[in-house]
């Protein structure tokens, strides 16, 4: 069975380590915050200028001046710091964020990522995504393995304009956990009950499959 959005977030969350500073993109990545493993502390960085993002506010706490990068009202966690956008991206560009999680339209075997622009549709912009993929060493892309029409999103070469070149090493899809090395996809884990055959059918780029591909553990 393909993973649900929640399971996707849960699998990504397993890649976190105690003491990690983490930037979570909009959509499924945001859900990752709900699955931080017990006994582990992580701090969320929001690129509009908040390190230590807390939960949504209560009605009483609601404050228009306290938002996250998704423009949602949030709170500051204990030990948070707040700063300018320049300082925020100094952190990001300088490689100080330990883990970045974001969505994508396409990823290819060279680690290229396309996530912000579909020609012919209205281009709304890249926001902070280009800075995030260029700045982070440890990035997890999370997306469905194939589009609604069944087209693979794991390609030999991205067809859409890139968000970043050669920067992606890990992908969690609804079917598999994949690493990128030596210009190939490497199948590391499969979603519970999903066959290697199905994964290969839905992967357009070259994929290395080891003898044994364990199922994800939750």
């Amino acid at each position: 069975m393909a993973l649900t959005r929640e399971q996707l977030a849960q699998r990504v969350a397993q890649e976190m380590q105690d003491g990690y500073y983490v930037n979570l993109g909009i959509g499924i990545p945001t859900l990752v915050a709900n699955y931080v493993p017990d006994g582990m502390e992580v701090m969320l960085q929001s690129e509009n200028g908040l390190l230590g993002m807390g939960p949504f506010p209560t009605e009483a706490e609601l404050d228009a001046d306290m938002i996250n990068a998704g423009k949602q009202t949030v709170t500051a966690a204990t030990g948070a710091s707040i700063f300018s956008s320049a300082e925020s991206f100094a952190m990001i560009r300088g490689g100080h964020v330990d883990l970045t999680v974001l969505g994508a339209f396409e990823v290819d075997v060279q680690g290229n990522i396309a996530s912000y622009m579909i020609p012919g549709k209205l281009i709304k912009g890249m926001g902070g995504a280009m800075d995030l993929v260029a700045g982070a060493d440890n990035i997890i892309v999370t997306m469905t393995h194939a589009s609604k029409h069944g087209d693979s999103k794991l390609l030999t070469k991205c067809t859409l304009p890139l968000t970043g070149a050669g920067c992606i090493k890990k992908i969690v899809t609804d079917l598999a956990f994949i690493e990128i090395k030596d210009e190939k996809f490497h199948l590391i884990e499969r979603a519970p009950g999903v066959s290697v055959k199905e994964i290969l059918e839905k992967t357009a780029g070259e994929m290395v499959v080891p003898k044994d591909v364990p199922e994800m553990q939750f």
Partner: protein, 233 residues
């Protein structure tokens, strides 16, 4: 005004000298920390053919979105736009130009503009449409593109508190792009929620020193929320 007193009494005074065709840097992220009243005053003045450098362009009827109504904006330099229909219409009709700039690059371009740095290198955007036509240089085996700095004829800024010398403090995440905009305007105008006497702000905790600020005006703010997300207590 004499000495270091930057306080002006009217929005008309605050934006005196703003003319058609100028470049304006605006603070704010989404609708958070935007200079609401200064934007409204630009609408009232009817200044046209403006280039705005701002992370976003507001929404229909609020923030920079109101300046689309009378087509006062010629060009936007932003990282994310199109949260409103009017924007989309004018863009598709070719009445509005957009220069999409990665958010961190945009922040750094303004910071560099204020800091006398004409250009810098960044890996952001290399190998993407953003990097096209830009100079590429390799440092330590990695490729970077050259980005030039941005300055404006005016900067419009929203802060929380100012002293009369123009020293500023921002509130929570309403800080965002405001400090950089403040440094990079030829004339920097700031609207604030409270004006205090010099000496009331701790020198070590001033976010924007008054040297960057030309005019300060006291305003009242709607502070519209774009994504109202709450939890039950």
């Amino acid at each position: 005004m004499s000495g270091f007193n930057k306080v002006v009494d009217s929005y008309a005074q605050a934006l005196a000298g703003l003319e058609n065709g100028m470049t304006v840097l605006a603070g704010g992220f989404g609708l958070c920390g935007i200079p609401e009243n200064l934007i409204q005053e630009i609408k009232n003045k009817g200044t046209k053919e403006l280039t705005f450098v701002s992370n976003n362009c507001g929404v229909d009827g609020f923030g920079l979105g109101v300046l689309l109504e009378d087509r006062q904006i010629k060009k936007m330099v932003s990282s994310y736009v199109g949260e409103n229909k009017l924007f989309e219409e004018q863009l598709l009709a070719g009445d509005l130009e957009v220069e999409l700039t990665p958010q961190g690059t945009l922040a750094e371009k303004m910071r560099a503009g204020g800091a006398g740095i004409p250009a810098f290198y960044t890996a952001t955007g290399y190998g993407t449409p953003v990097g096209e036509g830009k100079e590429v240089k390799e440092f330590n085996g990695r490729k970077y593109i050259m980005e030039e700095s941005i300055t404006g004829d005016f900067a419009i800024v929203k802060a929380w508190k100012a002293d009369t010398y123009g020293n500023l403090i921002y509130r929570h995440t309403a800080q965002n792009f405001n400090p950089m905009a403040a440094t990079a305007g030829k004339i920097t105008v700031v609207e604030v929620e409270e004006i205090v006497e010099p000496g009331e702000l701790d020198p070590a905790h001033i976010h924007t020193p008054g040297i960057y600020v030309d005019r300060v005006i006291l305003g009242t703010f709607e502070k519209r929320i774009e994504q109202r997300t709450v939890r039950t207590a």
